[in-house]
């Protein structure tokens, strides 16, 4: 590209500059996600609250909703909304940092259904939400005589197996889950539910003055009717190696300014750390839902990860009143149906770029310049495999009809007209047959692919007349390859998302195309073609 003049260089620089700037602005200022990966991590959680009111009574519903403070940890609240007609709502925070949603109504009767919807996205933000501090000491829970004996043995045992608070808790959990142990059985009193296990655990740990909290989590997995999962957590100061053994006196507890961290435990396995796919709904011993004057109250969670993820976020941003004017002019502000069209259209330059590279740098021969892109677009409707088969069959048959008609010595125009008519009939027949055979793909040939196929046959048969069959075959194969490649590139979801979201990339493409306009180097196929020149020195 040595022949770039200053004029062209400036033009390219301006185009690429504007392109890069708009992309950078979108990424860094508007914080639009660069990749669509966030699709899988965009969750909507619907909590449905049902209860029944006998007669006509004033109703008050209290319901925990996830708070920033307890954290979704790895998620960020995108939106939340409440569907509760005739109810007034207020939110307050309790001592555990929970958000308590209070809904009240003066007079309600019959079955009540309220919805709370939360939308979460995962973001790669390094800052973790601010968390409230917890206690590191608690009073022992008074025990019965029977319990005293059992707990003493257990705690001695656990102490031996642990070296700090965290390992102590883990060891305790393992002990509680060891149902064969007589002492544990005694404490559990034949109730092996997880709630009871946590009760026993709390009892045990309180003897060692270790406070724990119940954590009610919701698992981010598609489905309905999920019950909140119970975890426990304990606030552990970092530098403290809390030795519960009297012999370890050399390591004393030092008060530090370092904030402690909440460590989460699975009360069944003792594993620490909350998995990525959990969010904390509420913390503490309270019930999730309390309803005054209501019966049979229950909450059901249904969770879905939305298909529209990153796009959803952007659409929402575009829809907001205070949105930046830049984003309101993005393609996302268009109606969804129109967006679909532009999703296809905006990828055409990418396809053209593929053809440009294949022709001017590689040296592939294709039928015309943009026919391969059009065929690639037709493949969108038929699918690649079926598209290639269809293309091959129809083009082959079309060309054989053409060569038969040659014997009849018809003029060119009538002859081509016959060929095109035949192609239409052929496509209709294929559609019909594949439909009868139950292959719905045959129906995918709509007007668009049909027009493109007939066009291709016309051009190919002209090439055949002018340059001979071998050449037509070569060009046909080249076109098919180029079209398939263009199709595959135009189909890359991440690329489609990127181009659609950051149309500035198109300016950069134009810059590249302009530079290509001055490309004077060899085509790769020419290296082979001229190789004969280099032989024998």
């Amino acid at each position: 590209m040595r022949a770039l003049t200053l004029h062209l260089k400036i033009l390219i620089a301006i185009l690429v500059g504007i392109g890069l700037f708009s992309i950078a602005y979108q990424v860094f200022v508007l914080k639009i996600p660069v990749q669509e990966d966030e699709r899988g991590n965009y969750w909507t959680i619907d909590a449905k609250i049902d209860f029944y009111v006998r007669g006509s009574k004033p109703v008050r519903v209290q319901f925990f909703v996830p708070s920033e403070q307890n954290g979704y940890l790895r998620y960020i609240k995108s939106t939340d909304s409440l569907l509760a007609k005739d109810y007034g709502s207020s939110i307050e925070e309790d001592a555990h940092g929970n958000q308590l949603l209070t809904l009240s109504s003066r007079r309600e009767s019959g079955l009540q259904t309220l919805y709370y919807r939360l939308a979460l996205t995962q973001r790669d933000s390094l800052s973790t939400p601010k968390q409230i501090k917890g206690k590191t000491w608690r009073e022992s829970i008074p025990l019965t005589e029977q319990q005293q004996v059992a707990t003493k043995t257990l705690i001695d045992n656990i102490r031996q197996k642990s070296l700090d608070t965290a390992t102590f808790i883990t060891a305790a959990i393992k002990a509680v889950n060891d149902v064969k142990n007589d002492n544990v059985s005694l404490l559990l009193n034949n109730d092996k539910t997880i709630d009871n296990k946590v009760n026993v655990l709390e009892l045990l740990l309180s003897q060692a003055h270790i406070p724990i909290q119940r954590v009610h989590t919701v698992r981010l997995i598609r489905g309905t009717n999920q019950k909140p999962e119970l975890w426990i957590r304990s606030y552990i100061a970092p530098t403290v190696v809390k030795s519960n053994s009297d012999k370890n006196t050399n390591k004393t507890t030092t008060a530090t300014n370092n904030p402690g961290t909440w460590v989460y435990f699975n009360p069944e396995t003792g594993k620490t750390g909350l998995p990525d796919d959990r969010i904390i709904w509420w913390v503490g011993d309270d019930e999730l839902l309390s309803v005054d004057n209501g019966n049979q109250a229950k909450v059901t969670f249904s969770i879905d990860n939305s298909e529209l993820a990153a796009k959803g976020i952007i659409s929402q941003m575009a829809g907001q009143k205070d949105a930046s004017s830049f984003i309101t002019y993005s393609l996302y502000s268009l109606p969804i149906q129109v967006q679909e069209t532009y999703n296809v259209m905006i990828m055409i330059p990418i396809g053209v770029l593929v053809i440009l590279v294949l022709r001017n740098i590689i040296g592939l021969q294709t039928l015309g310049t943009f026919t391969p892109v059009l065929i690639a677009l037709a493949f969108r409707e038929t699918g690649l495999g079926f598209g290639i088969c269809l293309f091959t069959i129809i083009v082959t048959l079309g060309l054989s009809v053409r060569s038969y008609l040659e014997h009849l010595k018809l003029q060119m125009l009538p002859r081509l007209s016959v060929v095109l008519t035949f192609v239409v009939v052929l496509i209709a027949a294929i559609s019909l047959f594949s439909h009868k055979l139950g292959l719905e793909q045959g129906l995918s040939v709509t007007l668009f692919p049909m027009v493109i196929l007939t066009m291709t046959i016309e051009r190919l048969s002209i090439t055949w007349e002018e340059r001979g069959g071998t050449n037509a075959f070569k060009v046909g194969i080249g076109t098919l390859c180029a079209a398939s490649l263009a199709y595959l590139v135009m189909k890359i979801p991440a690329l489609v998302y990127f181009v659609f979201t950051f149309p500035g990339i198109l300016l950069i493409l134009v810059g590249f195309m302009l530079a290509m306009g001055r490309y004077r180097g060899y085509r790769l196929t020419e290296l082979r073609r001229f190789k004969a020149l280099l032989k024998e020195g």
């Binding site: 340059r467 004077r520 085509r523 790769l524 004969a532």
Partner: protein, 327 residues
Amino acid sequence: MLSMWKTWKELKSRGIMGINQRNGDYILKYNKRKYYPVVDDKIITKMRAIEEGIHVPELYGIIETEHDISKLDSILAGRTDFVIKPAQGAGGDGIIVIADKFDEKRFKTVSGRMISHSEIEYQISSILTGLYSLGGMRDRALIEYRVTPDSIFNSISYEGVPDIRIIVLLGYPVMAMLRLPTRQSSGKANLHQGAIGVGVDLASGITLKGTWLNEKIDKHPDTNNFVSGVQLPDWDNFMRLATRCYELSGLGYIGVDMVLDKDQGPLILELNARPGLNIQIANDTGLAMRNKIVEAHIADLKKKQRVEAPEERMRFSQEHFAVNFNK
């Protein structure tokens, strides 16, 4: 990958021109679009050449419409050999060469195939609808003098008429090639269809080695005779004709296709605004290298504010691009 890079470097150092370079640095730069009709339409080329006093095969007649086809008889009256070709055809497609008249309604082609009057009419009709024209536009058919190749080619050609192409940059011939039809090219002098290209020394008109389907060859595959070392007769006249085609067409980068007629000597057949690159293999040298020499010479002349006459330009090329046979 590495060997590709090496090939690239080597080709570059030998000044071999690629399609991108041809399109960008020469065709786009020197060939103004408005002059294209002169070369794309053989009738216009012919008229221009006649104006300039350049030898072309005699034009017997032009058929422009389907209705005109009825004029065919009067055009062909008394003629036994002639050529019918599309005015805007490329690469020798759509051409019929009639060598003899068999009876009232039938002719014989060069290859001895019998062709009826109605088949000729059909062919002309195909030409008129634009079957062979660039871009499928309506076309005209011309009927002209059939060139009888000089006997010098008898031993190194198979059927057809060999032609000579000279690439002319801004009026300076830079490279020449003799194109010999083969059985594979079915008598056509088109390299894409399997004709042989043989390099020609610009100074002497002696043939060099040949190329056939991108390969180097010495012998004609059909006659088995050596294609190199043949002295083309009347060479300076070929050079003169080619050189003057710059003034004739106004195009800066062209391939001039000529034939050597047994009786009339060198004749211009057609001009090509996008001459191919295989001529480089035939001459075993790069076009870009020679073009640079010409461009430098022109830049030099510009400084001196001088323009060279066709005769001077021809001498320059013959001096600078002579092949040293004693090497």
